[in-house]
């Protein structure tokens, strides 16, 4: 810092508890320590101080004591009051009285709403079996355990997991390495952010800080993605890959390290199974071959493969971007193999194992995993992973879209009730056209949310629930730290929390004995028993409690991790040879290729060149934005001002060739649908690719912005993609494709 000025806030961000109390008292306010809820209620939430004036939440500050955010907060966190008081909030339960989709509802009481659902589920269970109930899983939320418990007690395996997030990476990694190893960025000299968004996925969390720290100490940063996002802005090398072609790039990197002998021979000899088969298999995947598919020059592929392999402390931070292509499983396991054979596995600065010591205390798992049976697995509507690999980490899972599809196909049977708790199927999965048809056909659809949702008009019953700011439960915990949620304000209408909803519904179903007789306090106490705590005691800690110190990390834990048991009911190990499974015998036995291979997206420049004349550009979408969480929060004015319109990123040259100027409304047309959105001339995107944020539908009343149509002519990118069962999925891990070809025209 310059010698003529003094920095007044050195490293301290946000407020600590004493400062928050002092500020509140000075302003005549109350302050409540709790956790931010703008990314949904999640275990790894940012701590906040919420200020309340005359019963109303006015503003929030970051909690310095919370290790997740250390006092910082992002735009979403700061905008919380506008979300809580939005005119889009649902205030009381609704029953549909008009036709499906018409939007005519009548107000009913909470009690009545829970009763109607219980009566319907009991009747359907008797008539169609318990598997006729499916619950669509939102992103990883704290309440997901309650959804799984309810399904298991009811007797249904149909937990509809996305098929496009987190579990896809976990599956390929676990069945190749026995772990999904983390990039140890703080120890690394070379970091590859691959299909990853380290900034917008949690701006106040550690990832952006770790990126900047790495840059400050001179680590080389490589970013692999089709367009320039903040991580690319900080990177030394940008690898501008075509969407959906990560497997081709990973295979070509394997080719380079294998043919140039840049491998860790000792590790490979001792800890890898099937390297010889890989050596032969990889010969067809040269960088020259990959250049045609990925749009990345062979020269750059050689460069990054050599840099990665020859830098001792190098890691790959693999993001959600690789989980949306028919070749996703092969991309991820090719990267897993690359990490292993170059000697970067569980070594300092590489990708290190998640080792939880056996002594680590954990709250009780309430998902009732121990009650899963092989018979339940056989009733899965549309397994997210083949049955021989289920249950996986999250228990039995049907793929979200396949649950909805089976309403239409009635194959293997038709679900009769679908519950959507904090998730919006019409905009959150592909094939919205078919989703809406399914919701129209479905016997009974229940929407649970805090604000109105995209497809609420198709619901039979709408259950409003508290935002986490209106609830004093549950607790959140990660690592050795635990914190109770503290209620900031009273609920604004006739509703309770989603946790209370499932407890009450369970009691009405006759499942009370398994649901603490409906008592949320007993439910929380039961979970906390292993920590020797009651919830009442935990609530006395305003900023949470560190009950166990993080243990120092050890490295090269190969024999431990390579012999891990899988979550399957027979607990067979993930790795049959106790080694890195380069040649995957389980996959082979199940009828899949034992070695990673390339598979084209349903539509692409190299896979379907006949389409490229009419549709010359690749379309894909962003999973994460700086101002919204998934398809939520477009109704928040302070956030919407940052991104008022759905925009498609298009390179200025590509736009000029079509006479498109910045801010023009354009028509984007694929073989499956069309959108009307605004063009943003974006110098940092591949000229052959256009991209848009997913999840657009909701208007913003305060800014006079209308809702957009859910289907044709709106801004919902999910109508644009193929959902052809033969082409649109990774055959092993679902991973629905988010790539197609389009043309863009000025409107």
């Amino acid at each position: 810092m310059m010698n003529n000025c003094n920095v007044l806030n050195n490293e301290d961000l946000g407020l600590n508890w004493d400062q928050a109390l002092a500020l509140a008292s000075q302003k005549g306010e109350r302050v409540i320590p709790t956790l931010c809820a703008m990314c949904g209620p999640i275990a790894r939430g940012c701590g906040i101080y919420a200020f309340v004036q005359e019963g109303r939440l006015t503003r929030v500050a970051g909690m310095r004591e919370c290790p997740v955010n250390q006092g910082a907060l992002c735009a979403k966190g700061q905008a919380a009051p506008q979300w809580v008081y939005s005119p889009d909030r649902l205030k009381y339960p609704l029953r549909r009285i008009g036709a499906k989709g018409e939007g005519k509802f009548e107000r009913i009481s909470w009690e009545e709403a829970v009763n109607i659902i219980a009566v319907t589920l009991k009747q359907q269970k008797e008539q169609y079996g318990p598997e006729s109930l499916a619950i669509l899983a939102p992103a990883m939320r704290t309440y997901n355990a309650y959804l799984k418990r309810f399904l298991t007690v009811h007797g249904s395996p149909n937990y509809g997991h996305s098929g496009i997030c987190a579990l896809q990476r976990a599956f390929a990694f676990m069945y190749t390495l026995g772990d999904k190893p983390e990039a140890q960025i703080d120890q690394s000299d070379l970091i590859i952010f691959w299909g990853r968004q380290p900034v917008f996925s949690g701006p106040a969390m550690n990832a952006p800080k770790a990126l900047l720290r790495a840059k400050d100490r001179g680590a080389k940063i490589i970013a692999v993605k089709p367009s320039v996002e903040p991580d690319v802005a900080k990177a030394d090398i940008w690898v501008p890959i075509r969407p959906g072609t990560d497997a081709a790039l990973a295979l070509a990197m394997l080719y380079v390290v294998v043919t140039e002998n840049l491998i860790d021979h000792e590790f490979v000899a001792k800890w890898c199974y099937g390297f010889e088969q890989l050596q032969e298999h990889i010969q067809k995947y040269s960088p020259q071959w990959a250049q045609e598919i990925t749009g990345v020059s062979a020269e750059q592929i050689y460069q990054i493969a050599r840099l990665y392999a020859t830098t001792r402390r190098a890691c790959i931070d693999l993001g959600n971007g690789v989980e949306h292509a028919p070749s996703a499983n092969d991309a991820i396991r090719a990267i897993a193999i690359l990490i292993a054979i170059t000697g970067h596995l569980d070594r300092p600065g590489g990708n290190v194992f998640n080792i939880t010591g056996v002594s680590r205390l954990q709250p009780k798992d309430i998902t009732l995993r121990e009650r899963l049976t092989p018979e339940m697995g056989k009733k899965l509507l549309g397994p997210e992973f083949p049955l021989e690999f289920q249950p996986f980490i999250e228990g039995y899972t049907s793929a979200y879209y396949r649950v909805l599809e089976s309403v239409l196909t009635e194959s293997p049977y038709a679900p009769r009730t679908i519950i959507a708790p904090g998730t919006q199927p019409a905009v959150s999965t592909r094939g919205s056209q078919y989703v809406i048809k399914a919701l129209k056909k479905l016997d009974f659809y229940v929407v649970i949310d805090v604000t109105r949702t995209a497809d609420m008009n198709y619901a039979d019953i709408v259950i409003p629930v508290t935002t986490p700011y209106e609830s004093d439960h549950p607790f959140e915990m990660f690592g050795g730290r635990i914190m109770a949620r503290h209620k900031v304000i009273e609920p604004l209408g006739d509703y309770k929390s989603i946790y209370e909803f499932f407890l009450e519904l369970a009691v009405k179903m006759g499942y009370g004995a398994d649901f603490w007789d409906g008592s949320i306090e007993q439910c929380l106490d039961d979970q906390l028993r292993p920590l020797n705590l009651t919830y009442a005691e935990l609530k006395k800690y305003p900023v949470g409690l560190e009950y166990e110190k993080t243990q120092p990390r050890t490295y090269e834990n190969y024999s431990q991790v390579f012999n891990r048991k899988s979550p399957k009911l027979d607990q067979t190990p993930y790795l049959p040879h106790g080694k890195v499974e380069i040649y995957n015998t389980y996959f082979k036995k199940a009828g899949f290729n034992p070695l990673p291979e390339w598979r084209e997206p349903p539509e692409s420049l190299t896979g379907t060149p006949h389409l490229a004349k009419e549709y010359p550009l690749i379309l894909s979408d962003y999973h994460t934005s700086k101002c919204f969480t998934a398809s939520w929060q477009r109704n928040i004015p302070y956030l919407r001002e940052l991104e008022p319109y759905p925009v498609i990123h298009i390179h200025p040259q590509t736009a000029a060739a079509r006479d498109i100027k910045d801010g023009d409304w354009v028509m984007v047309k694929s073989p499956h649908g069309y959108m009307k959105v605004k063009a943003e001339l974006y110098p940092g995107i591949r000229p052959d690719t256009v991209m848009i944020l997913h999840g657009w539908w909701q208007g913003c009343q305060e800014l006079g912005l209308p809702d957009y149509p859910l289907l044709q002519g709106g801004a919902n990118v999910n109508i644009m993609y193929s959902v052809d069962p033969r082409k649109a999925y990774d055959p092993l891990i679902t991973a629905m494709s988010s790539q197609t070809l389009v043309e863009v025209k000025k409107l």
Binding site: M1, N9, L23, A72, Q78, A79, A233, P683, G684
Partner: protein, 165 residues
């Protein structure tokens, strides 16, 4: 004489807009107006292209052009903090300050009067967030995850670094 200002380091900014929204939320800034604004600026051409972020607010100039230009003498520079502030009662909404400001900072809301960042000067002293010299940290600075914004005290008479405040 000492004054305060907020320095911005572009290398540390990740473009999250936390500062911009913290400002609006804590100061209840009207929709459509921005006292602090984060922008993305492009450098180079594909594939050697970068985005660089900026976070702009009033610089609280040592010799504010807006203050000199204001015919109603509604703009003053605070003694203690150096904050350039607008007296809303005196402002006549003539927008001469907007023409005078080299950085395009003045904003005009539904009341037609000028408003902008005032360095949270009313809260700057003795307000809970105590630092070395009993100083409150404005919410935009306090929320920034990567310390791209920093509150600094500046000895007057020196040139501010590179105009990045």
């Amino acid at each position: 004489m000492a004054g305060l200002c907020i320095l911005f380091e572009p290398e540390a900014c990740v473009g999250c807009h936390g500062c911009e929204v913290a400002c609006k939320s804590w100061r209840k800034v009207e929709l459509g107006l921005k006292w602090r604004k984060v922008d993305t600026n492009w450098q180079g051409i594909y594939p050697d292209v970068k985005s660089v972020f900026s976070s702009k607010a009033c610089k609280h100039c040592e010799e504010p052009e807006c203050m000199l230009a204001c015919p109603a003498e509604a703009i003053t520079k605070e003694e203690l903090t150096g904050a350039v502030v607008v007296n809303q009662d005196d402002c006549i909404g003539c927008r001469v300050c907007l023409q005078a400001c080299p950085y395009d900072i003045p904003q005009f809301g539904s009341d037609q009067k000028m408003q902008k960042c005032d360095l949270c000067h009313n809260d700057l002293v003795g307000n809970g967030q105590e630092s070395d010299n009993n100083c409150y940290v404005p919410p935009c600075v306090a929320t920034c995850p990567t310390h791209a914004l920093r509150l600094v005290s500046v000895n007057m008479g020196h040139t501010l670094p590179s105009g990045d405040n």
